[in-house]
Amino acid sequence: MANTLDQLVDQVRENRIWRSIFRSGTGESNLHKSLFVQQNVFLHLFSIKARKRTLEFSATWYLGALTFGTFMILVITGVLLMLYYHPSVPQAYADMKDLQYVVSSGVFLRNLHRWSAHAMVFLVFAHMFKVFYRGAYRTPREFNWIIGVVLLLVTLLLSYTGYLLPWDQLAFWAVTVGSNIASAVPLMGAKIRFLMLGGTAVNANALLRFYVLHCVILPLAAILFIAVHFWRIRKDGGIYAGDHSSEGSNQ
């Protein structure tokens, strides 16, 4: 039975259509394995080879991967929430309540989005601390640390713009306070606040701007920088495994 199943899998993988998609083909050799990574647009961001030590839990606690996992959950649940949410006053609040009480599984998706957002902010900080205390930001990985700081800012901005969308009292006053903090910037503070809100008060324009930032601009920025972040791991010699002096004893 197992044999016939293996044969069937092999048959599929030898199939002309399959081969046109996955050009590396079957085979257990290192060449086949590395070609499989190289020739996949998503996997080619990652190294072909990894040190065993870097794949252990203790090396990274998988914090970066978990952060990416929460980001994927947020993208999927966020797109689904967009199908019921109108970014207009006062419809936004009613839609949020409908998602909680009327739409099938709406409360599940909304809470999943909300808790994943909290988890992502927590994980981004945890990932940053882990990288910092292991010294994984040092040469040649300084630039990837900077990309990471940009991603931290994008995450916080996503969190902040998403905060307004329920259009409840908490959202309204949080963004009133936040936009007034932005207006404390010297010389151009009032202009920044005006551009941010699209007006002088937290109103329909502000809701729409925050919605577009939250659903389009910031996620695209996040995806772009995540791609560079992953690709730089490969270019900087893989995930940091520890000092070269202690590397021998680890293996």
Binding site: T176, V177, S179, N180, G199, A204
Partner: protein, 164 residues
């Protein structure tokens, strides 16, 4: 042949530049001009020219609506109408710290902000808290119909009471 006699211009000399350098400079320059234009265009596009926001001028109604020595908050327009023994004045209810809506506490006789704990007296003068400035007095006048009018966009530096 005159060409042979003429000294060949050196591309390194500061006065002369090669054809290629000229076109590179021209190209970079025009891209820079276009980028500046795009920045100005974006700024203009992102600044709304017309705002569909409530008018800053508020009709606060007839003066006899307000009891003597009272402080009345209208949460919709975020103003206090204060009536003293001598007359009326209007006070902004928006905290000068970070813009929260303050509330009047009649039992304490003070105005307090729920967000970060700033406190003001009935004249808007700061008692304590993170607020950097007193609550501004707003321009108030009587309309032809005898209603109290308040311009929220117009803070007055010199305190004036409206006497009815």
């Amino acid at each position: 042949m005159p060409e042979d006699v003429k000294p060949k211009p050196s591309p390194d000399s500061p006065e002369e530049m090669s054809r290629r350098q000229f076109f590179v400079k021209l190209g970079v320059g025009s891209v820079a001009v276009a980028a500046l234009g795009t920045a100005a265009f974006s700024y203009e596009y992102l600044s709304p020219n017309v705002l569909y926001e409530p008018s800053p001028v508020v009709d606060a109604g007839k003066p006899d609506r307000y009891a003597p020595d009272s402080v009345t908050l209208d949460p919709q327009t975020a103003i206090y109408v204060v009536r003293t023994g001598e007359g009326f004045f209007a006070l902004s209810a928006i905290c000068t710290h970070l813009g929260c809506l303050t509330a009047y506490k009649p039992d304490l006789g003070i105005i307090a902000c729920p967000c970060h704990g700033s406190k003001f007296n009935k004249d808007g003068v700061k008692i304590e808290g993170p607020a950097p400035r007193p609550l501004p007095w707003l321009r108030m006048w009587l309309s032809d119909e005898g209603n109290l009018m308040v311009d929220r966009a117009n803070a007055i530096a010199i305190r004036q009471l409206v006497r009815v």
